[in-house]
Structure formats: C-alpha cells, structure tokens
C-alpha cells in the first residue's frame, strides 16, 4: 500500500472511531467496560497520529517514545482514576 493510500485509510478509520466513540458515550450505559473501550480507543487514535501522520514511527527515538508515552500514560490514568478514585482523592486532599 502506498503512503498516500495508507493516510487515506487511516483518516477514515479515525473518523469512524470518533463516531463510534460518540455513539458509545450516548447510547451505552456508563461503566468500567465503557471506560476501558474509550481509553483503548483514545490510545489507538493517538498512536495512529503519532506514528503515521506525525511520521514518528521511523523518526528520532526519544521524540517517538515521549509522544507514544503520552498515549500510554493518559488512557491508563483514566482507567485508574475510575478504579482507585477514592485513593487518589485521599492522596490529593490538603
């Protein structure tokens, strides 16, 4: 597949994931499973942009790791906040 065709398909995939995510948020009962799906989608979408649109997949390793790390850490913290919110609240109470 050419680079141009790959970009076209990834754009369509990102739009489809966005619409799917919005539908889940509106139609599905909130819960841990929904949070997991939304967090994984966030991580996946970020990885696509970092690797293919930003072209960091083959670029400088430190930049790649930092930008990819953003989309490992934030979705994980999102899930952990749901699971251990009370603990985080106690930890951050002055």
């Amino acid at each position: 597949m050419t680079h141009e065709k790959l970009l076209d398909r990834l754009w369509l995939l990102l739009v489809a994931l966005t619409l799917g995510g919005a539908w889940i948020g509106e139609a599905v009962e909130p819960g841990l499973a929904v949070t997991l799906i939304i967090s994984l989608t966030m991580a996946f979408k970020g990885r696509i942009v970092v690797d293919h649109f930003m072209e960091l997949k083959t670029a400088n390793r430190m930049l790649r790791n930092l930008m990819r790390g953003f989309f490992y850490v934030l979705p994980a913290v999102n899930v952990l906040t749901i699971l251990f919110g009370d603990w985080l609240a106690r930890l951050t109470t002055l």
Partner: protein, 197 residues
C-alpha cells in the same frame, strides 16, 4: 534540482527530527502543559465523581464530535500537504493547506456556536468543577489552534512563493508537527469531557 511529479519522493531519513528542534521544544512544552491540565482533570474527577459523571450530559456531544472530525481531518490534510511537497506538487500542497484552513475555521465556528449554546443553557464555568475544567481545557486548546492557524497562513504564503521543495521543506514539516500535536491534545479532551459519563 527540480523533480517531476512522477519521480518517487525522497524517503524521510530514519531517526531524524521532523521539522526542526525549535518546534519540538514548543511541542513538548505544549504537551507538558496539557498533561498538567489533564492531571488537574483526573484529581478533580477523583474528588467529585458525581459532578464529572453528570457534566458531559450537559454538553453538546454533536459539537464535540464535529470538532474532533475537524481536528482529525486537519491533521490528515497536513499530512497530505507534506506528501505533496515531497513530490514537488506545490499547487496540490497549497490546496491541501487550504483545506487545513477550512477545517481549522470550521473548528473555531463550531466552538463559538457551542459556547453560545452553552450560555443559552446556563452552562458557565462557575457551575461546578467539571465546567471549570471544561472551559479551561477547551479555551487553552482553542488558543493553540489559533496559534497554529497563524503558522498555517505563514506556510501557505511560503508554499505559494515556492520556498519549499522536495529537498527542503523543514518549515512545512515543523508546522505539520505542531498541528498534529494540537490534534493529539484534542484526541484526549474529546473522550474525557464529552464521552465519558
């Protein structure tokens, strides 16, 4: 050296820094700023889970979704513009950049309509901590989009004047990297503020 459209574009060198080091100092600062703001979001949500569960229902999911499509599409158009200049297709590059400008303008228009709709519904930053975080995050993001639009207009002028070539388009790549980073920040904002209930 003048390349024609049927000559394959030069492959980016592995391990390189897209654009230049200066723009990456800016991008990493931007990502650090948003990481801090997301940290505030998580701490606030841990303290007020009910408020953060109910908040997204008061926002327009349609506006959030459309803005996500605008940001993703803008990012895609930028990637296509960079690809076009590598093939020495300056007019095509300029057309893709024009589409980026349209996507960015669409984002600003939707944001303005969303804020107006919010106010008509009585949704203000002082309602509770969710809306304080919502306005702080989305305003901050909007400011970054406006900065990006200024950079976009600059690279459009440079592209039109023939400043970029397949061998030298670091300025265009620098703008592209910044725009993608702004898109990335929104890819976190959208699920946290509009989707997660």
């Amino acid at each position: 050296m003048l390349l024609t459209a049927d000559v394959p574009p030069p492959e980016p060198v592995a391990g390189r820094i897209p654009g230049n080091k200066g723009i990456w100092a800016g991008i990493l600062s931007e990502m650090t700023e948003f990481a801090l703001l997301f940290g505030v979001y998580f701490v606030a949500r841990a303290h007020y889970p009910e408020v953060f569960r109910e908040g997204p229902a008061r926002l327009s999911t349609l506006a959030g979704t459309l803005n996500t499509v605008m940001m993703i599409s803008g990012s895609y158009f930028v990637a296509k513009a960079v690809h076009a200049i590598r093939q020495n297709r300056q007019q095509a590059c300029l057309r893709w950049l024009l589409l980026v400008l349209l996507a960015a303008s669409g984002y600003l228009l939707i944001k303005a309509l969303e804020f107006r709709w919010n106010l008509s519904q009585g949704v203000t930053g002082g309602m509770n901590l969710f809306f304080t975080v919502y306005y702080y995050l989305t305003f901050t993001h909007m400011v970054h989009v406006v900065w990006g639009m200024m950079g976009l207009m600059w690279v459009m002028v440079r592209t039109r004047s023939g400043a970029y070539s397949p061998a030298d388009h670091d300025g265009l790549e620098a703008f592209a990297s910044y725009w993608h980073a702004t898109d990335l920040a929104w890819l976190v904002i959208f699920p946290l503020l509009y989707v997660l209930h």
